[in-house]
């Protein structure tokens, strides 16, 4: 019998954990840490302490929401605004967690382990697990995901601290570049995801509505832009789908 080339086996769950940790090093780790360098610099330039940045990366670990939070905090937005903007930004984690769970379930782990592991669900590790985990024996899947994403998480903690330190140590021009990393990184991440009409429309409407709404209300502009532009994109693409 020929062995299926697409099947992989680390042997044991602890070996899969180490294997996942090893495989997290590469371009995804570099890009993610690069963007967290930018976050660390943003924290420094927003007159916050390094502990604030580290605390945010430790407890939230979803960069778009972290950047939105720091930006809103520095314009003095009230807590309710911050909470709604972060919640709307990160709602995408819900369908991601839902699709990931059946893929990594299978180890004889108690339920709470999945709730703990859920904290490290984010785009990079999610994409890797959705690709690799179905090829592994079921008892190694959770371990692989935890090893992969847990290592990314540790890397971003270090990158946050380094970015914070760099922002003060390098010439002002380089600090500009570090802070500029944040919008550029997200812009490109979204530019690679333009296949779905509704999401492409949402991006365009949001980008057009964002700046003028900010002039109208620095606090509420993000929440209002997200809800109106997002809903408009959703409705228009549904109508288009229904017609064709």
């Amino acid at each position: 019998m020929t062995k299926d080339m697409n099947q992989r086996d680390f042997g044991t769950a602890p070996a899969a954990l180490r294997g996942g940790a090893r495989e997290s090093f590469g371009v995804p780790m570099m890009v993610l840490c690069g963007s967290y360098l930018g976050f660390g610099a943003l924290v420094r330039e927003s007159d916050l302490a390094v502990w604030h940045g580290l605390f945010s990366t430790l407890t939230a670990w979803a960069l778009p929401g972290q950047v939105a939070l720091v930006e809103l905090y520095s314009v003095g937005a009230p807590l309710l605004v911050i909470a709604s903007a972060v919640a709307l930004t990160n709602a995408r984690l819900l369908p991601m967690a839902m699709t990931l769970m059946p893929t990594i379930r299978g180890a004889n782990a108690p339920r709470w382990v999945y709730y703990v592991t859920a904290h490290v669900i984010a785009v990079t590790g999610w994409a890797a697990a959705m690709r690799v985990c179905p090829t592994l024996p079921s008892e190694q899947r959770l371990a692989y995901f935890a090893g992969f994403s847990g290592t990314l998480w540790c890397g971003t903690m270090i990158a946050t601290a380094i970015g914070f330190a760099l922002a003060d140590a390098v010439p002002a021009y380089v600090t500009l570049g570090l802070v500029f990393l944040n919008p550029i990184y997200f812009m490109l991440v979204f530019a690679s995801d333009l296949r779905q009409r509704s999401r492409m429309l949402a991006l365009v409407f949001g980008a057009v509505a964002g700046p003028p709404l900010y002039l109208w209300s620095p606090d509420w502009s993000l929440v209002v832009a997200g809800l109106t532009a997002g809903t408009l994109a959703f409705v228009l693409s549904s109508k288009y789908k229904a017609r064709s």
């Binding site: 407890t59 939230a60 909470a83 369908p95 570049g177 944040n182 550029i184 949001g206 997002g230």
Partner: protein, 112 residues
């Protein structure tokens, strides 16, 4: 004192507003179809909000970027997109070129 502790409160709220989705996803997995229309709407709202934030950060930045020229920031952003698509979605190349371009353009203005 509150200058130090207040941001932690904001970040706790942010962490809660983030983890709740992950936990809900674990709880609901296998019970609701993640391809449903409701989730498509959620994705649209999240995408539009982030696009609004990105556009705002480039056009009306706060902090040190506010001292750079709008033309430089737009030029660097367009350059990043161009390199990104020319290199077939190479994130590292696009991000490097975009940030380096802004640094170079800003620095260049001090010389000429």
């Amino acid at each position: 004192m509150s200058e130090f502790w207040l941001p932690f409160a904001a970040m706790m709220v942010g962490a809660g507003a983030t983890y709740v989705w992950r936990a809900l996803g674990v709880a609901l997995s296998g019970r609701v179809n993640p391809d449903s229309r409701a989730f498509e709407w959620i994705a649209c709202v999240a995408y539009a909000l982030l696009a609004a934030l990105i556009a705002r950060m480039i056009i009306f930045p706060i902090g040190p970027l506010a001292e750079t020229y709008l033309a430089d920031r737009l030029g660097a952003a367009v350059g990043a997109l161009a390199i990104f698509f020319l290199t077939r979605n190479n994130l590292l190349a696009g991000v490097s070129v975009g940030t380096a371009a802004l640094v170079a353009l800003t620095w260049g203005r001090t010389i000429f």
